[in-house]
């Protein structure tokens, strides 16, 4: 039997996301999907869910959920929670995440404030049981598509989890928060496609400045504040272009000269010149940033970017491989088992 998570408090903006909905950009539908795909992968691995499973994307302030019907294994990765798990016997314990946790029926998990990353994923064993829409369970709120009726979580929503893969396996698994998860290292970009719409000074200022993320930051994009980037004054080389396609990570610069970094729920086409686009290896890091944080950019060529993409994939595999049994008092059963069975830490599941 599969358990259900009932929403007692939805958190700030909690949506169902998986790896996204590619293939529909030609008909105006952006990919959506997890802003931080690395955190999603880690949460799914911790929970014992397939890599392409959907989880709850929690932003800034996570939800409070209660298990119903049967036990559900959940796992949180991406940010550290100031959470609490309250058992039916009235006992409670702190929950910081970066680990799995079995919730028995009646148990409540409140995640509270998340940090330092803006984004965490609460995955469940077997993945969230929702019908895919156009090949994905990801929520695209602007088109009311996917997830739960295309919207953020509300009080009273009930989310069905997959069954525990092995009811006898109660060993919880965890992971040290990875080093450099929210580093100040520059976001690597490839210049173009319209970097020739900017003065050389503007390109230098783009690469040489510290940019602050404004309060206007959501799943569509991050508005950046910093020096004004001047477009060329030559005809046809300014801020406005005849609309062309957009990718996630693109940095468009409207006439105001203040860049906008476009994320998963962005429009599919746009009429502003794009000075650069973030490389795929650094897209997950963009999903961790919220208002008030700063970032810098560094230009790389596509060959370097390809090597970094391969490196990022290997690094993620290594993190998944480092998932190990948790040794704490949250689940005495698990602790007991781990003491009896050494080498249980098979991350491959």
């Amino acid at each position: 039997m599969s358990g259900v998570l009932r929403v007692l408090d939805p958190g700030l903006v909690t949506t169902v996301q998986d790896r996204g909905r590619p293939g529909y950009q030609r008909v105006g539908i952006p990919p959506a999907g997890a802003l931080d795909t690395e955190a999603l992968a880690l949460a799914n691995a911790l929970a014992g869910a397939p890599a392409d499973a959907a989880a709850l994307e929690c932003r800034f302030l996570g939800p409070t959920l209660e298990a119903e019907g049967a036990a559900v294994r959940v796992a949180l990765a991406g940010a550290t929670a100031r959470g609490t798990v309250t058992r039916t016997d009235g006992t409670s314990a702190p929950f910081e995440g970066w680990r799995s946790l079995i919730l028995a029926p009646g148990d409540r998990l409140g995640l509270g404030a998340l940090g330092p990353s803006a984004t965490a994923y609460l995955a469940v064993s077997g993945g969230l049981a929702l019908a895919p829409v156009m090949g994905s369970r990801s929520t695209l709120m602007r088109a009311r598509l996917g997830g739960i009726d295309g919207r953020a979580l509300r009080v009273g929503d009930r989310l069905a989890a997959g069954a525990l893969p092995d009811p006898a396996d109660r060993a919880e698994r965890g992971l040290e928060p990875p080093r450099g998860w929210l580093s100040d290292a520059p976001i690597r970009v490839v210049l173009g496609p319209q970097d020739d719409h900017f003065t050389p000074e503007a390109v230098a200022a783009f690469l040489g400045s510290v940019w602050r993320i404004s309060g206007k930051a959501d799943r569509m994009g991050l508005r950046l504040e910093g020096p004004t980037l001047q477009h060329h004054t030559a005809p046809g080389r300014g801020a406005d272009i005849v609309s062309d396609g957009i990718v996630t990570g693109a940095v468009q610069v409207p006439g105001s000269g203040q860049p906008i970094l476009l994320l998963a729920d962005r429009q599919t086409s746009g009429g502003y010149a794009k000075i650069a686009a973030a490389i795929s290896a650094d897209l997950p890091r963009l999903g961790r940033l919220g208002p008030g944080r700063t970032l810098r950019f560094e230009a790389v060529d596509t060959g370097t970017a390809a090597a970094l993409a391969a490196e990022a994939r290997a690094h993620l595999q290594a993190l998944i491989g480092a998932i190990a049994p948790v040794r704490d008092g949250l689940d005495l059963d698990a602790l007991y088992r781990e003491n009896l069975i050494s080498g249980i830490a098979d991350p491959g599941d």
Binding site: R26, V242, A250, T302
Partner: protein, 271 residues
């Protein structure tokens, strides 16, 4: 999303005439995409080249390409940087260019969409007519007389950018954008026509409303094979209907008893 309708054309018969396709520029776009840019302007000949290349890329099934998206003047090609690289895709596209056949991916359709250009469904018709120095009826005649080419699908899911309007009704956007434009609104600006698939903010001139749904996650009504009614390379003719007829069609559409009509659109070669 569909094969090309030019896939059977291997000889010069039916091919886009030699020299008609401008040599594109390849623009890098991050490490997982590139833009094949045929020009910088909105232009029917450029659009024909873009759509023909889109169909050819789909038919060629180039390894590592994850999706393509046509726009007015360029083709966005997204790829898996762990599976291929921009240089390989550029080389493959240069091979395809001399053999492009006119047409677009899938089977382009010519749709007939009813539109009510009256009363509250056409709040900006009078002001458009005034600025154009025409009567409202003359604006409607001009808008309904032409075949609107779907350049691309863009600002919202399923929303078509269509062209081209005659110069008399080619107006800039409204100075005061609306915060809520009703779904189905037929709107004009900058030489183009759009249809708003959902209620959304908008700054275009609303000259009518169509009861045809443009978007459906499980297949648009009238097009069960796709989540959107219109795809790039399709064309639309608007058929003026009165308020009562509009209401009747809207009701029938809601009940599932009405879907828009279409017939195959003939391939469009560059002019």
């Amino acid at each position: 999303m569909g094969g090309g309708n030019g896939t059977g054309s291997t000889g010069t018969e039916g091919a886009i005439r030699h020299g008609a396709v401008p040599t594109p520029r390849f623009l890098p776009f991050g490490d997982a995409a590139l833009i094949v840019e045929f020009g910088r302007e909105k232009d029917r000949a450029l659009s024909a080249a873009v759509l023909a290349l889109d169909a050819a890329v789909a038919a060629a099934k180039l390894p590592g390409i994850t999706e393509t998206a046509p726009s007015f003047r360029s083709l966005l090609v997204q790829f898996d940087p762990l599976a291929t690289e921009a240089a390989s895709i550029e080389a493959a596209i240069l091979d395809l260019l001399p053999r492009l056949a006119p047409g677009a991916a899938g089977q382009p359709r010519l749709w007939t969409l009813p539109a009510c250009y009256e009363g509250p469904l056409a709040p900006d018709l009078a002001s458009v007519a005034e600025r154009a120095g025409l009567t409202p009826a003359a604006v409607v005649d001009r808008h309904a007389a032409i075949e609107h080419h779907v350049y691309m699908i863009g600002f919202l899911p399923g929303a078509p950018y269509m062209g081209d309007l005659p110069g008399e009704i080619d107006l800039p956007r409204r100075r005061d954008p609306r915060t809520a434009v009703p779904a189905g609104s037929v709107a004009i600006a900058v030489g183009l026509t759009v249809i708003y698939p959902f209620e959304s903010p908008g700054g275009w001139h609303l000259i009518g409303r169509t009861p045809a749904a443009l978007f459906g996650a499980h297949g648009a009504p009238g097009r069960p094979d796709a989540p959107v009614l219109l795809t790039p390379g399709d064309a639309v003719r608007f058929e003026p209907v009165g308020g009562a007829a509009y209401a009747a069609i809207e009701q029938a559409a809601a009940a599932g008893d009405w879907v828009p009509e279409w017939r195959p659109r003939l391939p469009q070669a560059p002019q």
